[in-house]
Amino acid sequence: MRIPCPYCGARDAHEFAYLGDATVTRPDPAAPDAEDTFFDYVYLRDNPAGPHSEWWYHASGCRQWVRVARDTRTHAILGTELARKPAGDAA
């Protein structure tokens, strides 16, 4: 599998470490229902058969977390983007 790293270009997947579902967002720890929302965040997954948004870390490359859209039925990569915009883009 070749993942087009937004910074490095196409690289074999073995250069990356996989984390998983990128659709979940760390909830507000101060919210009253934090235990429920954290449970969802940490444990529950849509696990779709089809397009999946997921985190890959380019461990052997630019060390960026990359959000990869990938079809779990075919392994086709549908798109990639960096988790964080480069610092050069003035905030």
Binding site: A34, H75, A83
Partner: protein, 987 residues
């Protein structure tokens, strides 16, 4: 000798000597082992898997089911090697396999006598009584009888390597379609790789007798290959099998670099695994000839028609002296004509079809070959073939022949198209499965797509090559399509001579007969997948290349469903078997994984260190001295020396992460359970970080070197994991934080100095400007300075041992110098290098948690670190750590242990039981995580996790260790055995 007087693409000037089953023979350069054996009239070459029936050479390619040999000998022995693809070399040694005592007389062929009872699935129905007999009696017998060849006798002496290639267009197969595809893509300017499993490009052009334009087929192939070879953008890879299609246009290929030699040349690998990344690929892998199933069809001498043709045309070998053909298609007639042309007597062409092209019958007549239209072979005879029985027109007739060339038609080599789950589609017109959905970027051309004629293959190859190139944006010219002298061959689907004599083999290697397919049908194993699994059809080393379609066609006849509806099993990679060594490359032995030496490795080696693998690192484990009886003596000495005076150890393997920016403090507050934003500059603090699920991930000290500059240490094991976690937090969770991190693990060598005299030693290596007094560098202090005359250093007053201690970091190239300087400075104090064992002893004596406790199954509370957790802030893992299962007071919690009798040895991994309670899971109260012999206390001590441990100080529990015969009583105690109040640290 059956070598023809002339012809063939062999080098008649280069004779090669080889042996088979100990007997010496001679072949020619350009031979395969199979062609050389046939040239020497060796027809019996192997025994079948189950019934040990005698078998001969069937094919001339990778589909060979029968002619499997053990190639080479000793540590280089390669079992199950197909003689049909082994390139002959001088001195080649081969032996038949799966026979005892000899190939000609195999005692296990008695299995054949009981064959009527050993039908498909019989194993599942018997050998069950009594139950205990399976492992003891039945299974060993089955295991010995099964299998084929024997593994090598020793470790593989040859090397393998891996390599990567990139191209625009990968063409798989250098037959007519492949050569044309490669030519067109290359002419358009694409980077092309043309790979072929054979050592000679050309494919069937070399085996048949067609002309292209006015050129002989093989000459045309050679000319085209030469043209391609001269193009710098083309790489021709012969002896290279593309075996698998993986994701992203990655193809696995095996190059047999040295298999055509007795042994690899110096510095050359035996084989090379290629990962080829191609934007487009053209599969031009040709087709494989199928048999027709009839009684006695496994007798040596029954061959594929195309193979007989290949042996005659390419190798100049007569597969027999007297030939008949049994076929259902036109192609086989050409094989018969080529054989006749080569001088082999052709007795008859038996074709199941009543109606045959007049052109063919005329040609047969011209060559004086008898034609039996509408005929079927119903039996064979001879140990090696001596005759066949033919049924035609209501009569049967015996023909005395020694070779029967069989053709049931051709199956496109669709294998690679299936590797992404594509299902082949039945094409009734050509009686073959053709590619269905193909992997992205892969197209198919030529016979692999069902275009069996040479003209069709050439045209298809041109089109595929052009399309691939233009798809990638290369400008393509109007292609020129060479003209060949043939048309698409006709075929009438025919699989199985239903009422023939004797066992009729569908899968000859696994001894699956037509009758076995019938049993599967009767018992309900009717889907192709169940048929395969129940009968083992197609699961032999040939992966069913010749048998799958025939088997499922017979099943389709039984069920009455069409072949199309029955479908086929899909082929899985690899296309042909691949040596495991090739997939490993150099990564075996010491090179399985990189070895990371510490900055002081050479120094430690000089000191006589014994090293231990710590992840990829090699660390000094202990430093034995002459006369020391065992490792424990050494470790005791090292510990005592540190506690009495001073010692040093390289701790460079800890992960070290530089953190800079205005938000570092806030960031660390979120990743550690305790606070860091308020840490004073020049101070260090111990921190614990959790995973988001609330379990402890790692611990270590982090120092604040400047207001916006911290340096974190991690455990050796978790260095990469923590760095990745921090990047996740910064890039994904809190991208707004202005924090830059950089690993400095390799930049800094770090040496720990421990013991009451450590300050004295340190004072002698720091430069004058650096004050290391208790006031200037107090416990948990961190300062920047220079050592050894201007070498920059970071000095931390930390202690893992419980003694007065420091860690000194210097740029890594100076690490060894620092070790030597410390040794010199500490000489008068008897400074002692110590290793990871002594380090471990001292941390257990001190009651620190370490890797054994940070198991990923423990919470901060479990480890007695719960009070460190801030209640005033959020941090990773805080919310989930509050779940009832993680805060249950019954959870095993960190405490110390000592043997009640004061002498017994403790063992990590022992479980704790209440004294007097039965030894069962219900009474399991925790386990010992770490133990050591404490030279300070003069007895064994341990750390562990015990239910409600801290409430049970002074209580006795059983430390139960049945796997090592241990069962002793231990006393629960506080985890700090030495200097529990930390006075030494602060002194």
């Amino acid at each position: 000798m059956s070598r023809l007087a002339k012809g063939g693409l062999v080098d008649r000037a280069r004779a090669l000597s080889f042996s088979f089953d100990g007997k010496r023979y001679s072949g020619l350069a350009g031979d395969t082992l199979a062609s050389a054996l046939l040239a020497n009239d060796v027809k019996l070459v192997g025994r079948s898997f189950k019934y040990h029936r005698p078998r001969g050479i069937v094919s001339a390619g990778p589909e060979e089911p029968n002619a499997l040999v053990e190639l080479r000998a000793g540590a280089r022995r390669e079992p199950n090697t197909r003689a049909t693809v082994v390139e002959l070399h001088d001195g080649l040694i081969a032996a038949s396999q799966n026979r005892w005592p000899s190939l000609g007389f195999d005692l296990l062929s008695v299995n054949g006598l009981v064959a009527p009872f050993l039908g498909a699935g019989f194993y599942y129905k018997t050998f069950m009584w009594p139950a205990s007999f399976w492992e003891k009696l039945y299974e060993p017998v089955i295991r010995r009888a099964a299998g084929l060849g024997r593994a090598a006798d020793g470790n593989d002496p040859d090397e393998y390597e891996k390599a990567n290639a990139f191209c625009d267009v990968l063409v798989i197969g250098a037959g007519p379609a492949g050569l044309m595809a490669a030519r067109e893509a290359a002419r358009a300017g694409a980077r092309v790789i043309l790979a072929d499993e054979d050592f000679l490009p050309g494919g069937r052009l070399n085996a048949e007798s067609h002309t292209v334009g006015d050129e002989a087929g093989h000459a045309f192939a050679a000319r085209l290959a030469a043209e391609l070879a001269s193009n710098p953008k083309v790489r021709i890879m012969t002896r290279t099998t593309v075996f698998g299609v993986y994701d992203g246009g990655t193809y696995g290929a095996l190059e047999r670099v040295s298999d055509h030699l007795a042994e690899p040349a110096p510095f050359a690998p035996r084989q090379r695994l290629w990962r080829i990344v191609a934007k487009r690929a053209v599969l031009a892998a040709g087709a494989t000839e199928r048999p027709i199933v009839f009684g006695g069809n496994d007798r040596p001498g029954v061959m594929a028609a195309g193979a007989v043709q290949a042996y005659a045309n390419r190798f100049g070998v007569a597969a027999g002296k007297n030939l008949a053909v049994f076929a259902n298609n036109d192609e086989a007639w050409r094989a018969a004509f080529d054989a006749a042309q080569a001088g082999i007597a052709v007795s008859a062409i038996v074709d199941v079809r009543e109606t045959i092209s007049p052109a063919l019958t005329a040609e047969a007549e011209r060559r004086d070959i008898r034609v039996i239209a509408g005929g079927q072979v119903i039996g064979t005879r001879g140990k090696t073939l001596s005759g066949i029985e033919v049924r035609h027109g209501g009569t049967t007739e015996a023909l005395a022949i020694d070779t029967l060339a069989v053709s049931g038609g051709w199956s496109p080599n669709v294998h690679l198209t299936c590797h992404h789950g594509g299902k082949p589609i039945w094409n009734a017109d050509i009686a073959a499965f053709v590619p269905g959905a193909t992997p992205p970027g892969l197209s198919v051309a030529g016979a692999a797509r069902g275009h069996f004629s040479l003209s069709g293959a050439l045209r298809d190859g041109v089109q595929a090559g052009t399309a691939a190139a233009s798809d990638l944006g290369f400008a393509t010219a109007t292609p020129e399509i060479p003209i060949a002298d043939d048309a698409e061959p006709a075929i009438a689907a025919f699989w199985h001579v239903a009422d023939s004599k004797g066992p009729a083999f569908v899968d000859p290697q696994n001894d699956v007969t037509a009758k076995d397919v019938g049993i599967a049908f009767k018992e309900g194993f009717r889907s192709v997948e169940l048929l395969k699994r129940y009968t083992t059809l197609g699961m032999a080393t040939d992966q069913g290349k010749t048998s799958n379609v025939t088997g499922l066609a017979i099943m389709a006849e039984l069920t009455g469903a069409g072949i199309s509806e029955t479908g086929t099993t899909i082929f899985r990679p690899p296309y042909t078997p691949v040596a495991i060594g090739a997939l490993a490359g150099h990564h075996r032995g010491k090179d399985f994984r990189p070895t990371r030496p510490t900055p002081t490795h050479e120094w430690a080696a000089e000191q006589g260190a014994v090293f231990v693998e710590t992840g990829l690192w090699l660390r000094a484990q202990y430093f034995p001295r002459p006369g020391e009886a065992d490792w424990l003596t050494t470790v005791n000495r090292e510990v005592s020396a540190v506690r009495a005076s001073v010692g040093l150890i390289d701790v460079s393997t800890f992960g070290k992460i530089d953190l800079q920016g205005p938000d570092v403090g806030a960031f660390l507050d979120r990743v550690y359970i305790n606070g860091f934003s308020a840490l004073a500059v020049g101070k260090a603090r111990y921190g614990v970080m959790l995973r988001e699920d609330g379990m402890v991930m790692d611990d270590g000290t982090t120092a604040r070197l400047a207001p916006e500059h911290y340096v974190m240490t991690t455990t050796t094991a978790n260095a990469a994991k923590v760095y990745q976690h921090l990047e996740f937090c910064l890039q994904v969770l809190w991208p707004e934080l202005d924090v830059a991190i950089a690993s400095v693990s390799e930049q800094w060598a770090q040496i720990a100095l421990a013991g009451p005299r450590s300050r004295d030693v340190l004072a002698r290596v720091v430069d004058d400007s650096v004050d290391v007094s208790n006031e200037a560098l107090p416990y948990m202090g961190a300062i920047i300075g220079t050592v050894m005359g201007g070498i920059p250093a970071r000095l931390f007053r930390l202690s893992f041992s419980g003694e007065l201690g420091y860690e000194i970091a210097v740029p890594a190239r100076h690490g060894e110098t620092l070790a030597r300087a410390l040794m010199a400075a500490g000489a008068e104090f008897g400074i002692t290098p110590y290793g990871t064992e002594a380090l471990g002893v001292m941390r257990i004596e001190k009651g620190h948690v370490s890797g054994n406790e940070l198991s990923g199954q423990t919470t901060a509370r479990d480890l007695g670190l719960g009070r460190m957790a801030s209640t005033k802030k959020d941090y990773v893992g805080r919310t989930m750590a509050g779940r009832p299962g993680l805060t249950d007071p019954e959870r095993p919690t960190f405490v110390g242990f000592k043997p009640v009798d004061g002498t017994s040895r403790l063992r990590a991994g022992a479980h704790f039981l209440k004294v007097g309670a039965p030894a069962d899971t219900a009474n399991d109260e925790g386990y010992m995580t770490s133990v050591c012999y404490s030279p300070t206390l003069q007895h064994w001590i341990g750390l562990g996790l015990l239910k409600r441990g801290p409430e049970r100080i002074g209580e006795r529990v059983r430390a139960y260790d049945p796997v090592r015969g241990g069962d002793i009583e231990v006393e629960v105690c506080a985890p700090g055995f030495v200097d529990p109040d930390g006075e030494k640290l602060r002194g």
